[in-house]
Symmetry: C2
């Protein structure tokens, strides 16, 4: 028996196995497609490439465009290539790749982002398409059970919702990776008012089934895939990230000392990127043990964390590993996976377990302002990078809400030309009501219980880079004086100059303004 035959235990589906090329006529211009996949793991790798080849070979650029609904980012060889072939009209809610970003910011691709936990739920509610349905879902699996239940691969994403709202389903059965059976915990989505509590009381709780329930009659085809995930490589460790991690670890130790956190902390949520890796790196070496993780993605450093013996359990939506990381995981599959559960996005990012468990939420924004509003999505206030992701799901519902960023970034002409702490964020994804603690390599501002003007002073004192401290202090003092005199000074801002640093960046290549003078004629 071939691997694919043994992996398809629902024998009535065996005759649905086809070559990808046979399925191309099924795809019509303007269709709503849903894919498995998340940060970029567990996405379909065969069908999207076959469609791209078809478009390229037949010069169909701009003539075969789709609306793509996927849990989060998928491999650049799929969505980014699709963007370069003008195959995407709408894309929700998160993406990566130069071509897709170019398409979005030049108006060719209509992207929208939303809290990932909301997106997952709302797609199941039918809020995203005209008829509430998805025309075709393409889902990567490692197995199909006797009852037609799907065993997903390295991420869960929005697959349970897709199986409910898709008219047709194409399975990519991946025979190159080990069977992932038993790794997932899937709770069948139920719409209100008949929803029951999710009985998740710690990171390791299992409250559902290892399978995604799927009507076998919807499965129109199965294609075999032998392609592995195009994993996310790890950035090199850097000094700034390690300084930020040190501030956070000191803070957590102090919270334990003050009795506000248990000795083994609370379940950790940590975003992607270098700072998240540095924090985990710090925990690997640090004093805490019996830790748990309830998060969205597991990066390579989580494997080190397990190896250290300090991490008891990790819950996530996705194994967001590098190619090296996957090798490590596959080589020691049983040991690692007995301490891991993968949940669908609508549960991994659901406020109910996040709030109940009391996650410590840590994420990186583009920038934040002196009153603790953060911009996570739009550089300069208008240019989309990747999307909001799950930062808001965790920051709004965690026990502690922490954002961290380097205090400055280089501009083209000035190595500290961009400050990541600004007078006023040009775009707001997380409000002052959502964040507790802000951190840069300069220090940590604990804003809990502080009124706006007190908060601003602490943020300036602790987080702003020395090059910008006098500049931003001058703005704050001036704004306070002018607004308080007018009796409108709860949260002082001067709307004729609050974006002067951004104007200066555009004109002079640096956010270092010489003074705060502005003359406006209108």
């Amino acid at each position: 028996m071939s691997t694919i035959q043994s992996r398809i235990r629902r024998k009535s589906l065996l005759n649905k196995v086809v070559q990808p090329e046979e399925l191309i006529p099924m795809f019509k211009n303007g269709m709503n497609l849903g894919w498995s996949g998340f940060t970029p793991v567990g996405y379909p790798k065969v069908m999207p490439v076959a469609l791209a080849d078809h478009v390229e070979q037949n010069n169909l650029q701009g003539k075969l465009r789709f609306n793509l609904f996927i849990g989060a980012s998928v491999g650049v060889e799929t969505e980014d290539r699709w963007a370069s072939l003008d195959m995407i009209d709408r894309r929700w809610p998160y993406q990566t790749g130069k071509n897709i970003q170019k398409g979005i910011n030049s108006g060719k691709i209509r992207m929208g982002d939303k809290h990932l936990g909301h997106f997952a739920q709302d797609i199941g509610y039918g809020f995203y398409t005209e008829n509430g349905r998805i025309d075709i879902a393409i889902i990567e699996c490692t197995d199909i059970a006797e009852d037609g239940g799907l065993v997903l691969s390295g991420s869960c994403g929005i697959c349970p919702e897709l199986c409910q709202v898709a008219d047709k389903i194409i399975i990519e059965l991946n025979t190159e990776m080990p069977s992932h059976e038993g790794l997932h915990d899937i709770i069948e989505p139920v719409a209100p008012p008949n929803r029951l509590p999710y009985l998740i009381t710690d990171a390791g709780s299992r409250a559902g089934s290892p399978y995604v329930r799927c009507d076998p009659d919807k499965i129109v085809a199965i294609v075999e895939s032998k392609k592995l995930d195009n994993g996310r490589p790890l950035g090199p460790p850097d000094e700034i990230s390690e300084q930020i991690a040190d501030h956070i670890l000191d803070f957590l130790q102090n919270e334990v000392k003050r009795g506000r956190l248990p000795k083994n902390l609370l379940p950790l949520q940590s975003g992607v990127g270098n700072i998240a890796n540095a924090v985990v790196g710090g925990l690997v070496k640090g004093p805490f043990k019996n830790l748990s993780v309830y998060t969205e993605v597991l990066q390579d450093t989580m494997l080190d964390f397990f190896d250290s013996g300090k991490l008891d359990f990790a819950s996530a939506c996705s194994l967001s590993l590098s190619n090296e990381g996957f090798k490590r995981l596959y080589a020691n599959w049983d040991e690692y996976t007995k301490k891991i559960v993968l949940r669908q996005l609508s549960i991994s990012n659901h406020p109910e377990p996040i709030r109940r468990l009391g996650c410590i939420a840590m994420n990186t924004p583009v920038e934040f302002d002196i009153y603790a509003h953060a911009n996570s999505t739009l550089v300069g206030g208008t240019r989309m990078i990747n999307g909001l992701g799950g930062s808001g799901d965790f920051l709004r519902n965690g026990f502690l809400k922490i954002m961290h960023t380097p205090s400055v970034r280089p501009s083209k002409s000035d190595p500290t030309g961009i400050t990541c702490v600004v007078p006023k964020a040009p775009h707001v994804d997380h409000t002052e009501h959502d964040l507790d603690v802000l951190v840069t390599e300069q220090g940590l501002a604990d804003c809990r219980g502080l009124a706006p003007k007190d908060r601003a002073q602490v943020i300036i004192d602790k987080c702003v880079h020395p090059d910008y401290k006098p500049i931003i202090q001058e703005y704050f003092d001036m704004a306070k004086k002018i607004c308080l005199e007018k009796g409108v000074g709860h949260e002082p801002q001067l709307f004729d100059r609050c974006f002067k640093m951004q104007w200066n960046l555009e004109k002079n290549g640096t956010m270092k303004v010489d003074n705060w003078d502005v003359k406006i004629d209108f």
Copy 2:
């Protein structure tokens, strides 16, 4: 037996009954105080007035200042009088009254606001004071049970948390109002990681106890109160609110028709004010029945809603009735209260039940912008009105997230001088990721599934007042053109003129700009 003796069933507490004047020496400058009360009902009415009299009579203005932590607003005869006597240093998280607002916006009072559901929880976590404790809590009750359990009055607010973190508790035993025993459902707050699911599966679920657990040794005194709540009067019905309500009811009917809402809708959450009243008024006359309400406050129109036979059950944190409304309630107590449950703020506004039940959330902001960012708190971006309240708790977690406002308000010199739909909100409390539907008397914009530029066009078409439609359309077209050409146009804004309407209001008394030209020297 006097009423107070019969209401204090814990007999060992009878000897704690004192006159309010005797307690004044207990209050020291700089103390952290927690009060019962919410929107302004169930607040202490005797002790705060006695303290204010003491300050006034002894010229102690500015010498006896407190930090006030209360679920939401309380009667103006208490906190607003305290503000006028300079008795407030810090105030969290919501307030009403001219004097307190003046104090806040001139820098005398340090107010902070936060999502009410977070505030309630975080005060229990000890995030608001240096030692995590509250020095004295003052709590209005109608009864004390044999085991010392407290029967609260017309609101629950943050009382369960206060009983945990307060060092001393003063009870105001209100003998003027009927016993409220059995009206409340209190879940003992437990900090993570030991928290269990809240077993609330419909508006009427009871998952706790009718009593607030309270260590009797913390109760240092009981004072009798014969004062009734200084209820919130209802605004008169107005045409604009009724037009807005009509749009919402049409929308809900259409959602039922499309199968996206059950025939009896989903539990309704509705903020305070005229539009909320008009929506409820519409439901009283409308086609829906077997409705339920899961909200923060019940206003007078809820009594009409019950009387109509269309409302099965209402869950709230507070009976925010007018004086007339309280008379109606007290006159028919048993009939009304068998269909009402009052919950503590940390549960009424908790994402877990709100998301599970799938509330239809409806709230009024100060303004919203073309991309669906809303400002709920700061007029002109800097001047505090009341605070964020629970709008974010419901909008972030509801099944449908609706905000409604008149499209314009008068300025001093122009009856339509202020547009409530602006190019860019000068302050953001709710982001584009949080809102589904925006409504003015002009129409309803259903933004679900729309990318930012599509969303902006729908909002301009449906919500903007005719006086402003060409002005805002011109801005949007210009911003689109300029940003898309530069390849930075995911969500176009022009940071050199996005606040020109606000500048024009300050200079010329109207937001109607003649053109979008701006010349800036810096």
